[in-house]
Every structure is written in structure tokens, then in C-alpha cells.
Amino acid sequence: MRVPYAYLSEQFADVEPYIDDLRGLVASGEFTIGPYVEAFERKFADHIGVKHAIGTNTGTDALILALKAIGAGPGDEVITVPNTFIATVGAIVAAGATPVFVDSDERYQIDVSLIAAAITPRTRAIVPVHWAGCPSDIESVLEIADRHGIAVVEDACPSVGAQVNGRSVGTVGRVNGFSMHPLKPLNVWGDGGIVVTDDDEAAKFLQLYRNHGLSDRNHIDLWGVNARLQPVQAIVASRQLDVVDEIADVRIRNARRLDQGLRDLKEYVKIPERPSGYREVYQLYQVGVARRDELVSYLEAQRIEAKVHYPIPLHLQKAAMSLGYKRGDFPVCERQANEIITLPAHQHITTEQIDHVIGAIHSFYGANL
């Protein structure tokens, strides 16, 4: 039985409703920001419960803009984790600041007990990543940040729909970013992102900066960039927003089934804690396993498409050389890099496929179901 990792052609099997909307877009000629983007921004802001949402070209842009908006720049340090997608760190560097890493916890989230020790007089912000669609302990992060008078910028890129105690991720930090990359919970047909804030001043800056610094057609208040969300993608995102919670519910159900099916393999499979009050939407379903690389090959041979996100922590990437970190600096994250496996748990996987995956993992470890 094949268990594919990709699901996009199934998710978008019926494109007729989109095509109708797109006909409207083409007839309007509004290809640069315009009513479709603005309508989506309003809808998204209301959906997650935030005052301002500003569509960006990518999730990376959303993070760069968020960091710029809180004033991060050369001379500043920004704290984040080494077990994230490159863009988190790329954005900090793009803003001109220096990334400072703290290790991850056993939920693959920022280890809040290590943050205070990483804070220096130069620290400007903490960027917790809601990794894999699972919220980090954002309440503790905020408390630490407030105590030190520094900002929180949530990297909520993989996590539309995730919540802590009923509050959506991306609504806690001062300015926060989401991605709408095709493999994210709220996904579009190419790249897309959103930066959100309750702060009117920050919102004003974000609007300016993402569109060349233009305060109107002929006036440039500051050197900005072109980081606009495409109207085509706003149309897709707007329709997806209507079903994003249903999709998350299916993923949550699938994750629970995997959790239950793997629980008896305690010796080989480490399932992260699932804290009560946390709504985890499983952009990736990740667990830690023994003999990981062998298991990945074993599953692949059976056409079960397992992946690794990611085998090399960011502090050990060539790009990080100038930061001066070495192997051993973040032992938890480094160990996890050798243990983590991502199993297909998306909304188009059937329960039979999930049970097949569970069975295959059992037979790999020579265990009986």
C-alpha cells in the first residue's frame, strides 16, 4: 500500500470554484495588492483574532518584516532555536541582527528554561517557532520577554490554526509571521505569507515597507521592498481559510491514531508530550525513533513516504559558520536531528493507510501488534 507524503493534487482536485474567482480577478485587472488581497487580510485577521493582517509574498518576508517592525537591526541579538527551517534565521540575518540559539525541548519547541541565560543587554527579541504546527510554550516566552523588556516575534509560519488555551498562535507576540507555502496548514498555489500585529504603528510600517516604502503613488517615505502577497494567492487562501479548521481536525484525528498505534513501542519510539489546552495542528507529524535512517529506508522501500525535517541543525550549517557555534552546543536538538522522523498524517490519508504505517513500524522493530 502506497502512503504518499504529497497531497496537493487531491486537495485541489476540484478547481472550478477557484477558477470562477480568478475570472473575476482577471476582469478586474487588480493584480497589485487591491481588493482581493485586502479582503483576505481582513478575513484572516478576524479568523485568528488580531487587529491587522498584512499579506506578504512569502513566510520569510513576513518574518523579515516583523523583525524590521520591532526595530531589530545591526548590533541586536535575536534569540531563536536551531531546529527550525532556515528562514527563521535567514530573516534575522536579513534584518541585520545576530541570531542567538537556545536548545529545543522534548516537544521540539524552544526550551523556555534556557532563554533567560541567553539574554544579554543586546537582545532585542525572542523568536519562538511554533514548530511543526505545534505551539511552543508561548505564555512562558512572553513572561520572560516582558520581564526583560524585549519583544516577542512569533514564527508561526507552520501553524495557522494552532492554539494555546483557546488563543491562536500569532496573536501573542508584538508582530508575528505566518507562511502559506503549499505544505503549510493554510496553503496556496505557490508562495505566500502574512504578518500580523495589534500595534497600529507597526501595521503602518509594515504596509509601507512591503510596498517600496510608498505612502502614496509618488511618495517614498523609506527604502522598502516589494514583498506583496499576490492576489491570485489571496483568492486561494481566502477559500482555504473556510476549511482550514476542518482540515486541522482531520490531521489531529490522524495524529491521535498514530500516537495510539505507536505508544506500545516505548523502547523505540518517543512520542512528544501532548499538553492539555494546546491545539496542535500537525503541519508535520514528528516522533523520535531508534535507528532512524534505517527505518526511513525501510518505510520508503514499502512506498511509505517518510521524511526528515531536518537532519542538520541550523547552527551546524555552513551559513552559520561565522556565528561560531560547534557540535555539542545544543545537545538536545543535535540528538533529535538523528531521531526525528516525519510520517504522513495529512487529511487525505485513510485510517487503513495509517494502520499500515503503524504495522510497518512494528514489523521493523520486530514487535507484534
Binding site: 504529497a6 497531497y7 496537493l8 493534487s9 485541489f12 478547481v15 477557484y18 477558477i19 480568478l22 473575476g24 480577478l25 482577471v26 476582469a27 478586474s28 485587472g29 487588480e30 493584480f31 497589485t32 481588493p35 509574498n57 512569502t58 520569510t60 518576508d61 523579515i64 527551517f85 532556515i86 528562514a87 534565521v89 535567514g90 540575518v93 536579513a94 507555502h181 496556496v188 498555489w189 505557490g190 508562495d191 517600496h212 516604502g213 510608498l214 509618488n218 511618495h219 517614498i220 517615505d221 527604502w223 522598502g224 521592498v225 516589494n226 506583496r228 499576490q230 492576489p231 491570485v232 494567492q233 531536518y310 537532519p311 542538520i312 541550523l314 550549517q317 555552513k318 551559513a319 552559520a320
Partner: protein
């Protein structure tokens, strides 16, 4: 979202939807193909478009980028510029020509323009200092800048030349396409460009394999492989979907350019006695992305045209060196008298494939009436 008929000008500045309708069924076809493929980022449509676009420009390589601004920024960033470096460009361009320099940390240094509105090569050498690293000539309105002279100067001083071809796809100089002259060139595929995406889009062209390789990595987070990040960078990829839609239009581009040129020459004949018209210089092949005249009493003429139902625009009333964003560069209006004078005279008239002779005659009639009365 649809405008009432009474709001619709007789001669709108652009007619995107009308032009799109010519190729709409083809666009919708490839649109569905891309959707069905489930491959939305950096797939075979992008690769194919890059090959076709490079061939079109007469360059060895093309790299698809999210927009023209990112394209400029990525190339300049790839030069490893620092806050001690300077880059020379023109002050009468779209913001991106200067902001892409400023955002690398380097200082934009402007040189004034010639009567044809492009950078004056005779003024470049005086602007070169030991800190100068590159020249960014702009092919404004689709008219090629004086590339022979610029390349000559750059060669003598060992400077990188990045053509800002944002407005100049399909233009050429002495039979050689813009975008194939410099060390690299950047194109925009914004909706108002002659070859456009349905949203933002951009391209980098180059003959230099090292530049190509670096840009392929730079546009995708610095990733040289899925799990190897060589340097921190951005996400500036051209969407697969936009690449597919651009591929559909590329074969039509020459015919659309031809139509623009015929309309531009017709405008020249109709308007020459009233305003300065954009005549082609020797060796130039202009794509007329913008049809820009230079007029006495410009603001009055613009108001007169608009009240007559003609959407005439100014690109742009304030030169870059006088924008609030440029304050710390310390320029004054006296620094670039040609650019400042031009900013008070330039006026862009509607020009696009599908513009009728009747509409052109209406524009000409209004211009004639304004100067006669």
C-alpha cells in the same frame, strides 16, 4: 470591484483585462495543468520558462525571481557590497533601482540624465570613487541606455554592470537585446510590463555561470541542496504558476511589441508639433513600455487630458534623490538639474496593444486643443 460605466475613462491608462482575453483560454488551460500537477514551486514550468526567456534575451542563463525589485537586490547582494561601497544609478527611475542598492547597505550614487531620459555616460566618470563597485543603468520606458559607453567606462574601472531592464523586455540596441549587455540584468514582470505575470514576477539574466549558480541558491534561502544552507538568504522564487502563464505569453511578445511601436510612431506623428516625443535614436529598438512625452505646462495638460477622459500619468513627479527616503544621502534639487527639469515635463500617455486609432486621435485632439487655446 467593478467600476461603474461613468467612472470609466474613454482612454484608460492600461487595458490589462482586454489584452488578457486574447490568450485567456490558453492561460486557463496551463493554469489547470499546473494545479493538477500539485507542483507549485520551482517545477518544470519555471525551468522551461527560464530557458525560453534566456534564449529570447540572447543570454546564456535566466533565473526566475519573485519580482523585479528582489531581482535587483539579490544580484547586488551577491556582489558582497558593504556600507562602505557605492553603486551608481539614475535618479529618475522607479524606487527599486535605488532601494535595492540602499538595502544591501551600500550607498546609491546618482548621475544625471540626458535628454532621452537615460543615464548620461559623460557624467559617470566624475561620480566614480575608489568605493564604487557597480553601475546600474536603467533602460527607462523601454529605451536602451548607452550601453557601449557605459560598458567601456565600467571596463576601465573594473566595475560590475547590472542592467535595470525592468521596463525593457524586447528592446535592443544595435540588434542586441537589452538584458544581454551587462554582467547581469534584471527584468520585472509586473502587470504593467510588456511581458507580465498576473501579480508580481521578475527575472535575472546573465552569461556568467557563477552568477547564475549563486542566484539559484540566493533566491531559495541559500539552499544548495534540500538540507544544506550555504548562506542566509531570502525566499524570492518566481511561482510555478506565474512561470506557466508567462510561458504562454512569451511567443506573443514580439507581435505585441510591434503593435506598441506602430502606435508609438503614430503618436509621434500626431503630437510632434506640440510636445517632445520619444523618437528612436540611432541603433535603438524601443519597446515603449511607457510612452512618455515632455510637455510645457505639463500639469495643465495632464488635468486637461484627464477631464477629457484620457488617463495620463506622471512617472514620476519627484526624482529619487528628493524623496524622504533619500534624505540622509544629502542631495539637493540643484544636483541633477536635467532629472529635476524632466520631472516637471514628463507625461505618460496610454499605450498598449489594443489601443485604437480612434482613442489615439482623441488624445491628440485634446493635446492640440490645449496648446491652441
Amino acid at each position: 470591484m467593478t467600476k461603474r460605466a461613468s467612472d470609466t475613462p474613454v482612454v484608460p491608462y492600461a487595458a490589462l483585462a482586454e489584452l488578457t482575453s486574447v490568450v485567456k483560454s490558453e492561460l486557463m488551460g496551463v493554469f489547470e495543468d499546473v494545479l493538477d500537477s500539485g507542483q507549485y514551486i520551482m517545477g518544470q514550468e519555471l525551468e522551461a520558462f527560464e530557458r525560453e526567456f534566456a534564449a529570447y534575451c540572447g543570454s546564456s542563463y535566466a533565473v526566475g525571481i519573485a519580482n523585479g525589485t528582489c531581482a535587483l537586490h539579490l544580484v547586488l547582494r551577491g556582489l558582497g557590497l558593504s556600507h562602505r561601497d557605492e553603486v551608481i544609478t539614475a535618479p529618475n527611475s522607479f524606487i527599486a533601482s535605488a532601494s535595492s542598492i540602499a538595502l544591501t547597505g551600500a550607498t546609491p550614487v546618482f548621475v544625471d540624465i540626458q535628454p532621452d531620459l537615460n543615464m548620461d555616460p559623460d557624467l559617470i566618470e566624475a561620480a566614480i570613487t575608489p568605493r564604487t563597485k557597480a553601475i546600474v543603468p536603467v533602460h527607462l520606458t523601454g529605451r536602451p541606455a548607452r550601453m557601449n559607453e557605459i560598458l567601456d567606462i565600467a571596463g576601465r574601472h573594473g566595475l560590475f554592470v547590472l542592467e535595470d531592464s525592468a521596463q525593457a523586455v524586447g528592446s535592443s540596441l544595435e540588434g542586441r537585446r537589452t538584458g544581454s549587455w551587462g554582467d547581469a540584468a534584471c527584468f520585472s514582470m509586473h502587470p504593467l510590463k510588456n511581458l507580465h505575470s498576473f501579480g508580481d514576477g521578475g527575472m535575472i539574466t546573465t552569461d556568467d555561470e557563477a552568477v547564475r549558480d549563486r542566484m539559484m541558491v540566493a533566491r531559495n534561502h541559500g539552499l544548495s541542496a534540500r538540507d544544506r544552507c550555504d548562506y542566509w538568504s531570502f525566499n524570492c522564487r518566481l511561482d510555478e504558476l506565474q512561470a506557466a502563464l508567462l510561458r504562454v505569453q512569451l511567443p506573443y511578445l514580439d507581435a505585441w511589441t510591434q503593435e506598441r511601436r506602430e502606435l508609438a510612431f503614430r503618436y509621434n506623428d500626431l503630437l510632434r508639433q506640440y510636445v517632445g516625443v520619444p523618437e528612436e535614436g540611432p541603433g535603438e529598438f524601443c519597446s515603449y513600455q511607457t510612452y512618455m512625452v515632455q510637455a510645457d505646462r505639463r500639469d495643465g495638460l495632464q488635468a486637461h487630458l484627464i477631464s477629457g477622459g484620457v488617463q495620463a500619468l506622471v512617472h514620476y513627479p519627484t526624482p529619487l534623490h528628493l524623496q524622504p527616503a533619500a534624505k540622509e544621502l544629502g542631495y539637493t534639487a540643484a544636483d541633477f538639474p536635467m532629472a529635476v527639469e524632466a520631472a516637471g515635463r514628463i507625461l505618460s500617455l496610454p499605450l498598449y496593444p489594443g489601443l485604437s486609432h480612434g482613442q489615439q486621435d482623441r488624445v491628440a485632439e485634446l493635446v492640440a486643443r490645449f496648446y491652441r487655446d
